[in-house]
């Protein structure tokens, strides 16, 4: 087999994996958009906040220690204990649920029925706010994320492909873990929305607010539910991305990688987020591989958007989006 083709295959596989990582972020967007029509820009910052909280709890750091020290002149930084990963994850989930409650209670409850752009801006305000809170709570230094996920090259794939193609493929164990977790997450979400009462309520609200209200579903409750779910998805994304790069400010910028995925997959479709992520991941990896060197590289950031734009010109509602029907 020609060498370039083998390389392209490796690039494609890695692109698929990266795409799954994008999908993890995109999923959170889809959940909230479907149920409430809010395009939640704060999803990236939520991932940062969740990851920061997880690491902070794990290391036994005192929340808001900088503020406390500044006000009372004390010097406390940590409790001096370490919390096991699983318990820390559980506690973080609780924090994210409380966050969902507060957001719904103090912000979006008051914005019901506003135009989408207003809601969108409110989430940007929320992003700023949460970023500040996250810095105040846990500081802005880099933290190491360690929840026991494997990292590094997968030897089995390396050896097997070396036998078949004469070139060992590189696949990161972390990416494999991410794919697995994403698969579980998506199946879990689908099962949840198909077979549980709450899940059905969520779907009903997504279909029609008025009809859902009229059969006695509490919109408020469902919205808190989807914000909590989005918070949990953000935690998963934060853990995955944070394991790679450490938990720090730039984590919040992954939201920007999810936007082309959403465009492509449609804002309202969970499978769309997954497939869209994979198309974007593979597309930008192959473009960087084939065309990148000729035009100077570092094309990933814009190519994802251009690719999504091309798809949109032919399907303005995204691959899996609901057909837009307009009436006058």
């Amino acid at each position: 087999m020609p060498e370039q083709l083998v390389f392209a295959m490796e690039v494609t596989l890695n692109g698929l994996m990266t795409g799954v990582m994008y999908s993890l972020v995109a999923l959170g967007f889809v959940l909230i958009f479907k149920a409430s029509g809010i395009f939640n820009y704060a999803q990236g910052v939520m991932a940062l906040f969740a990851a920061m909280t997880l690491v902070g709890i794990q290391d036994g750091r005192v929340p808001f220690s900088h503020v406390i020290n500044a006000i009372f002149g004390t010097h406390i930084y940590d409790f001096g204990w370490e919390v096991p990963a699983l318990l820390a994850i559980l506690l973080t989930v609780i924090v994210m649920i409380i966050f969902a409650l507060l957001v719904q209670r103090f912000v979006f409850k008051h914005l019901v029925g506003q135009e989408p752009i207003i809601l969108f801006m409110a989430t940007i305000g929320l992003a700023y706010f949460l970023e500040g809170v996250s810095d105040l709570m846990w500081g802005s230094e880099i933290r190491n994320m360690d929840v026991g996920l494997p990292q590094g090259i997968n030897d089995w794939i390396d050896v097997t492909t070396l036998e078949i193609f004469g070139y060992g493929f590189f696949i990161d164990n972390l990416d494999l873990a991410a794919t697995l977790i994403a698969a579980i997450l998506v199946m879990g979400l689908i099962a949840y929305s198909q077979y549980t009462k709450n899940g059905r309520a969520m779907r009903a609200v997504a279909d029609d607010h008025q009809a859902a209200l009229s059969v006695g579903i509490s919109l408020n409750y469902v919205w808190i539910l989807v914000w909590s779910l989005a918070g949990i998805v953000a935690l998963v994304a934060g853990v995955m991305w944070g394991s790679k790069s450490g938990v720090q400010f730039s984590l919040s910028l992954i939201a920007l990688k999810a936007l082309p995925v959403l465009m492509l997959g449609g804002f309202t479709s969970i499978p769309g987020a997954i497939v869209g992520g994979m198309i974007i991941g593979v597309g930008e990896a192959l473009f960087e591989f084939a065309i990148g060197p000729m035009i100077g590289g570092a094309t990933e950031n814009w190519f994802a958007y251009v690719l999504a734009l091309l798809f949109l010109v032919f399907r303005p509602q995204g691959l899996f989006g609901e057909k837009i029907i307009e009436r006058v």
């Binding site: 880099i142 790679k244 730039s250």
Partner: protein, 426 residues
């Protein structure tokens, strides 16, 4: 309208009249934003050293120092605002720790007559003091760094890099592009292959770049990164099992937090450093007189790490220049123009460093009117899995490569801005 009145009042407070006698060293720091992890230790070191001088020696020459901090978040517009708001305090020298803000401040400080010191960053050609009268970038600059790395590799390979490949993994910004021209020249000179790999800001994703490195197996990878890009690159290098000894960062890619997350796996990774690390007497003094007394700027946890030491070194150079200015002018409460003249006459010797409690922290160098760049020497250090270990003595760059580039670039700047030689006419 009410808001405006409060604003006027608070602005007046902020830009209030300078206290009777104080030496003001504004610190344009960034403790937030994408590069906070690098900005925090540097700012801590800078202001802790000045605090030490106040506690231990009663300031510089009997005048207390003050370090008003202004948060830039690595953003140029905030940098301008910080500059304007601290300038009125009688600022002696600016150290923005950001290449972008440096470019803003070069023309402004020149007009306002305030020296600008950008150690190891900023505009490389500012080393030509004949054109850039108020900008200093001693002890070393980016082009020196590129040349030093190649020199060190030459030495390791018995003087020849012929047929080898060196890849440059760089942050796709003004900062990251700096060494390209130097490395291209060097590649021609020493006949090695030069491969460029750009990483877009912030550098969270480098999968494709590292796949390419894995395919093409360059003999060395040189990194010009900052912020999260460093951690990710080191992690990816470990993932693809790239030999870590052949992976070399510049001095902004070799901080403790860059390698700590990878820990022992990153052992072998090398980077440049313009300041030596280690157990210097000054750290004990800072611990005792500043941190234990609660006068420190940060939480005190960064004491002695790479960027903290660099911030402290920057403060040391500024303080020495201020002391020299007092000596030269005979005035204790010096102003910015005296500071500038002293920076241009600054000579750092081993005795001075020893006296300050940081023996051998940097190279010996002397600044002249023409040469604002110092010797350009730096050491190479290696991460052993737990700590940075100094690997070499100060290595000299190849001035015959960098000097023509500096002359060319500064001549272009001089022509664009109509600057005449400042050294020959005085």
């Amino acid at each position: 309208m009410k808001k405006l009145t409060i604003l006027v009042l608070s602005a007046a407070v902020a830009a209030g009249s300078p206290a009777a006698a104080e030496l003001v060293f504004p610190s344009l720091s960034y403790r937030t934003g994408p590069f906070a992890a690098g900005g925090i230790p540097f700012a801590d070191g800078y202001s802790d050293y000045m605090a030490l001088l106040n506690v231990r020696d009663g300031g510089i020459g009997g005048v207390m120092t003050s370090v008003p901090e202004c948060e830039t978040a690595y953003n140029t517009e905030r940098g301008v605002e910080c500059y304007e708001s601290t300038r009125g305090l009688g600022a002696l020298v600016y150290q923005p720790l950001s290449t972008g803000i440096t470019y803003q401040l070069i023309p402004r400080t020149t007009v306002d007559g305030i020296p600008l010191h950008t150690m190891g960053y900023g505009r490389t050609s500012a080393a030509n003091g004949d054109v850039f009268s108020h900008t200093f970038n001693y002890p070393a600059n980016y082009w020196d760094a590129a040349s030093i790395i190649v020199n060190q590799l030459l030495e390791e390979n018995d003087g020849s890099l012929e047929g080898q490949t060196i890849a440059l993994l760089y942050h796709n910004s003004a900062y990251g592009r700096e060494p390209i021209r130097t490395l291209e020249t060097l590649a021609e000179m020493h006949d090695f292959e030069f491969l460029q790999l750009a990483v877009d800001h912030p550098g969270q994703e480098q999968g494709n770049q590292w796949l390419q490195i894995r395919r093409e197996r360059p003999d060395y990878v040189v990194m010009w990164g900052w912020g999260v890009m460093n951690q990710v690159a080191i992690q990816e290098a470990i993932n693809i099992r790239y030999p870590m000894e052949n992976f070399i960062g510049n001095w902004w890619s070799g901080a403790d937090h860059d390698v700590e997350s990878a820990g022992a796996d990153a052992a072998g990774y090398r980077s440049l450093n313009m300041n030596r690390l280690g157990d210097m007497p000054v750290f004990a003094e800072i611990q005792e007189l500043v941190i234990d007394a609660g006068l420190n700027a940060g939480d005190g946890s960064n004491l002695g790490n790479v960027l903290y030491t660099r911030g402290m070194y920057a403060a040391f150079l500024a303080a020495e220049a201020a002391a020299l200015a007092q000596e030269m002018s005979g005035v204790a409460d010096i102003d910015a123009s005296m500071m500038r003249d002293a920076m241009e006459a600054l000579e750092i010797t081993n005795e001075i460093m020893e006296a300050a409690g940081m023996p051998g922290i940097g190279p010996e160098f002397a600044v002249t009117c023409e040469d604002h760049g110092g010797t350009g020497m730096a050491i190479m250090q290696q991460w052993d899995g737990e700590a940075w270990v100094t690997l070499t003595d100060f290595i000299a760059p190849d001035d015959s490569v960098t000097q023509p580039l500096i002359d060319e670039d500064s001549a272009q700047y001089a022509a664009e801005n109509g600057i005449t030689s400042q050294c020959s006419d005085s």
